[in-house]
Every structure is written in C-alpha cells, then in structure tokens.
Assembly symmetry: C2
Amino acid sequence: MLWATSPACTELETLVLDWLVQALALPEKFLSTSTGGGVIQDTASSATLCAMLAARERATNLEVNRTGVTAKLCAYASTQAHSATEKAIRIAGIGHENLRRIPTDAHFAMDTDALSRAMRQDRDAGLLPFFVCATVGTTSSNAVDPLTEIGPLCREFGAWLHVDAAMSGTAAVCPEFRYIHDGIEHADSYCFNPHKWMFTNFDCDCFYIADREALIRTLTILPEFLRNKATESGAVIDYRDWQIPLGRRFRALKLWFVLRHYGIEGLRFHIREHVRLAQQFASWVHEDDRFELAALVPLNLVCFRLKSGDDENQQLLDALNGSGKLYLTHTRLSDRFTLRFCVGQTNTVERHVSEAWSRIQDEAARIARQ
Amino acid sequence: MLWATSPACTELETLVLDWLVQALALPEKFLSTSTGGGVIQDTASSATLCAMLAARERATNLEVNRTGVTAKLCAYASTQAHSATEKAIRIAGIGHENLRRIPTDAHFAMDTDALSRAMRQDRDAGLLPFFVCATVGTTSSNAVDPLTEIGPLCREFGAWLHVDAAMSGTAAVCPEFRYIHDGIEHADSYCFNPHKWMFTNFDCDCFYIADREALIRTLTILPEFLRNKATESGAVIDYRDWQIPLGRRFRALKLWFVLRHYGIEGLRFHIREHVRLAQQFASWVHEDDRFELAALVPLNLVCFRLKSGDDENQQLLDALNGSGKLYLTHTRLSDRFTLRFCVGQTNTVERHVSEAWSRIQDEAARIARQ
C-alpha cells in the first residue's frame, strides 16, 4: 500500500491525525508539519511494537535490522502495564527476560525510584536500557504513570519513552482532564485508541511519533514493483513504512466522520458525561457498606469489590455476566479479585448505570443470603 | 480479544477457514479438527511474520522468546519472493543479512539446487537454517516455486516451510489449477488472500498452520484481566494468540457472505473466466510484433513489454496510468522494465480487457511515432 494506491486515504489520515494533536493538546512535535507525525494502527499492541522496534534500531544504529539482536537491550514497564509490552519484546527478538516489570506505588502508578534503580543496575551491568513504556490509564485500574518523572530518567539513560494512553487519552479533549498528559513533552511516541472511548468503530489506534525518520528507517523496504514517482520524490507519506503489515485500510474515513459529526464540543460533552456517570457509580459503591473501591477513580473506570472475599466477588461476576444484562470484566489489585465497571460507549446514559448498580446490589444481597 | 469477547466471531472464523481447506483441497493437517488450523490475518505480510516467529521459536525451543536472539538463524526466499520476508526478518530481530535471496530459474521460480547449496553452506558454517518462504505465484511474474523439491530440503535441514500463495492460491478452488499446490503437504504454514482474488473486501488473509501449538506457544500471553473460564478450559480458540495484535475484528463475516453468495461453483466460474481473459490478453500481446511476453502466464497475470526498450515502456506505463482509464503496475524481469496486467476484480468482464488492449496498442503507436 503506497501513497499512489489511494492518495485520499493517506492525505485524510494525515489531516485527521494532525487535528487530533490539536484536539488533545499534544506536543507539536507529533504534527506531520514537524519532525514527527501520526498514523492509524489497528491496536495499541501494534503501536507498542512499532515504538519498541524504532527504539531498538535507534539504540543500535540499525544494527539489529542488519545483523540481528546482539546487544543486551533492556525494556521497562510497570507491573500494571499492558501485556502488549511483553508480546512486543518477544516478537522483537529481545526476549521477555529483558523486560523489567517495575513495581507500582499505592495507587498502582509506576514507582519511579524503582525505575531509576533498575535502569542504573542494568547499565552498571553492561546492559543497554533502550525503552520505557509508561501508561496513562492502566487497563487494570486506570492508574497514570508520572511522565514528569519518567521523562527525565529516559533522557538520562538514552531510553525511548513510549506512552500508552489507549483508553484514557481521549479524556484530553477536555481541558480539565489534560493533566493526565503532564510530562508528555518527554515522549518519543504516544498512542490512544479512538475505538475505545471516542465513538469510533474498532479498529482505530492513533500512534504518534516525534521523529518519524526513526520509525521509517526501521520498517521501510522498497522492491521494484513498489517504486513510483510520488514515493521517490519524498513529497508523500507511505504509511506502509509506519506499521507492521504492508497493506492497509482506509481507517481515517470513519475517524473523520466521528470528528465531523460530534465536533470537539460534542466529544467534550459525552466524555464529561461518561466521567460524571462513573463518578456517580463510584459514590454509590462508596456509600454501600458491603462494597469498597479498589483504586482511585480518575476518569471513567471504577474498580470495586465486595469486602467479603475473592469467592464472593467471583460469584458476583459470574452471576452478573450470566444474566446477559450487563458484562463486567475483572482484574486483581493488591492481590484481590476486583470487578471493573467502565462507562465509555456511544449510547450509555444514566439509566444504564443506575440499572447496573441495582442489579449489582441485588446479586450481592442474594450471595450474602446463601 | 478473547473467545469470550464474541464467541460467534471466533466460531464462524473457524468454520469458514475449515470450509476453505476443503474448497482449495489443502492438506487435512490445516483443519481445526486436526493438529493445525486457520486464522484470518490482515495481510500476507503479517502471515509471513507469524510463520517466521513460530519457526524461530521451534528452532530455538522458545529460547528467543525468553532471552532474545542468540543463535545464528538463517532464512531463505527466492529473489522473486515478496519483500514481506525481508520486513519480517528485521522485525523478528534476526537481521536482513541472515536472509538468503536464492536465485531463480529461467521462469523466475526458485532454483532448488541453489537453495540446497545455500542451506548446506550455512549449516557447515555453524548457522541454523530455520525458515524457507516459498511462493506460489510471485508478485512480479506469478512464478510458482517447486514445493515438491523445496519440501524435502526443508525436512532435511529441519527448516520451517511457509508457502505464500497470496493471490494465486484462490485458483485452487478449480480442480484443474490445483497443480500449483503440488507439494503443499510439506508446508508447515500456508496463506492466501481472499481480498486479492476471491471477491472479499480488504483486509482478509487466510493463514493456515499445521501445528497450531507452535504458533500459540510463541505468541500467547495471559494477564489476569484476560483470564476466563472458556479460555482456561482449553475448549475454545483465542485467535489473539495466533497473530501480532491483541485485538481483532469480525473479518470472518464478510468471507462467509462471499462463500454463501457465490458458492464454490460460482467462484469456479469467475476464476475460470478471469484466467480465460488473461490468456486471451496474452495471446493478443503475443500476436503483436511490437510486444513480447516477459514471463509464462500460468493464471491471471500477464507480464509484457514493448520490445523497443525501458524508456518506451516507462512512457507507455505513464501514459496509460495518466489517462485515468486503466492502471497498470510494473516490475523488472531479467533486468528489463515490464508491465503487469492482472485480471481478478469482481466486475471485470471481457469488454474491459479488450478496451484496455486497444488503449495499450494506441499508446504504443503514439510512442512509436514520436
């Protein structure tokens, strides 16, 4: 898939991704008019892999691309980071033993002292700290890693900073939630998923990079049957060289429709409403003595549980999901079984949230009677 | 994306991919009821990467996944194989210097004597030949690598055989074209793209593997928030572990519609018609003294050129593509600029092909007059 295959596909993608830099108030270095740019990936796991590959090649001056992994590379992510990082480090030929899982603080955000110690220890041992994946809104609990502290550490050790804001990034369309991105100016790459919380059909991950040449150098190949004047002029973008597969779809179109349909003000309205509903749900949990909140609720994800124990919470989850009326997933926080309630879909309104809470209360009562 | 996320999505995919094993008369080891199975990938480049990763881990007993690339692995593909192999070997951390490009015979098919020599030489030098990508219908010229000879070599050297039949595989729905797959019983993995020549919207690559455990072991990860009874029972398929990204779309549905709409007889009718039209076009080229065929025409791709020279052929391509009436791509065969004419789209009928030939003749006349 070249620019020449469908110029509109590429041009609209560039346009829409530049719009989103402005909408989320991301650093200007992610604009296509700067040294960087954005590209639509299928999912955040692919974005993480692309970031790691570009980091791998930056750290080794393209040596891995040429001769394979020989240097002793180390990557870092918190114990709460998405498993995509582990999948990526295997695919990249670096091996999961070289992924350090950094402990978190009481609120499940990365402990930067521990990160600093780990990077120093690796460097002292002759290893090369090359990549840190920080999370803005972890999958388990929506914890936000402190980019303002992680960024300077990455610079000190020469490591690439990738920021994964898969669900939560969308919140930054609202100025009052932009604090989640504090320190984002340190990031070498960043992604968020409009298919998670921006009313866009799966799949649609927006991946931004500060130095697009680092990515393109890593992934470009140009056999004869792909040579063409537009590409060779250097005046156009071949997004094929910004991603794992060589082919690609016209994903920008659905995103363009979303942005034109809602507008920034429309998006803000819905995001604020989702956060309000989640906070309301959290307050109900807090007021019910049988339940407790298992984590802070910065945005639209509520982690909660019955105080009684893991068995009861597993029973509660099974009963709710078995009802066919609502669907929750679970996680473990502080080694305790925890339910996750997330408000983020296009048609979710107050009624759905209050009905869900009623059902949860009813099931909790039934379990207590057993 | 787990089985539990959408059981229908997974179950229909398994069903449809099993149907296609029968439709193309592929080996039974690719059936889900056997030791293998199929999965829909976005593109053949991702299928090649997945095959290479599974091969890498089989060759090193999962050591690369654990500790990174250390063994000296070598992969093989012909000089005519798709550039996806080169992209994959870089991503996999093995390095493109460890991809041997094997020369081809007079008809652009892999020279198996050269393959044998290369593998022996590498093994004697202490390297580990782990992966061969054979092509059934190369992109440039539709050449078919001799699987019956390549297969035994792979077995001798313990290398994984991946067969890339991205466009041409579809031809095997017609019994008279199944010879293209002679030797496919040696393959560890195989892919073809219904989005190329089976009337299915992009993206849709069908990737088959003989030993699904080899693939799953390579790509699986299971954090707490993805744990669920269905997955842990082992009774269901989590296709997330059969591909690079963790999320996935319901691609099987469009493929199901295509198969139900056309039926096998309908597909055969159109495939035969496309081959007939391409052969007719080839005969017109052959009969026109100004032109020559640049390669054999086994199926629906015609490689041809003006006898006069590269400049004239480049002019011809530019004039045709600039007209907005038809679009050809080019390649280089025997180091000469060559035009590619392919019949394979849903609505292409005889009129389009004859009109295209008229335009090509007219432009050739205009160029000769200059």
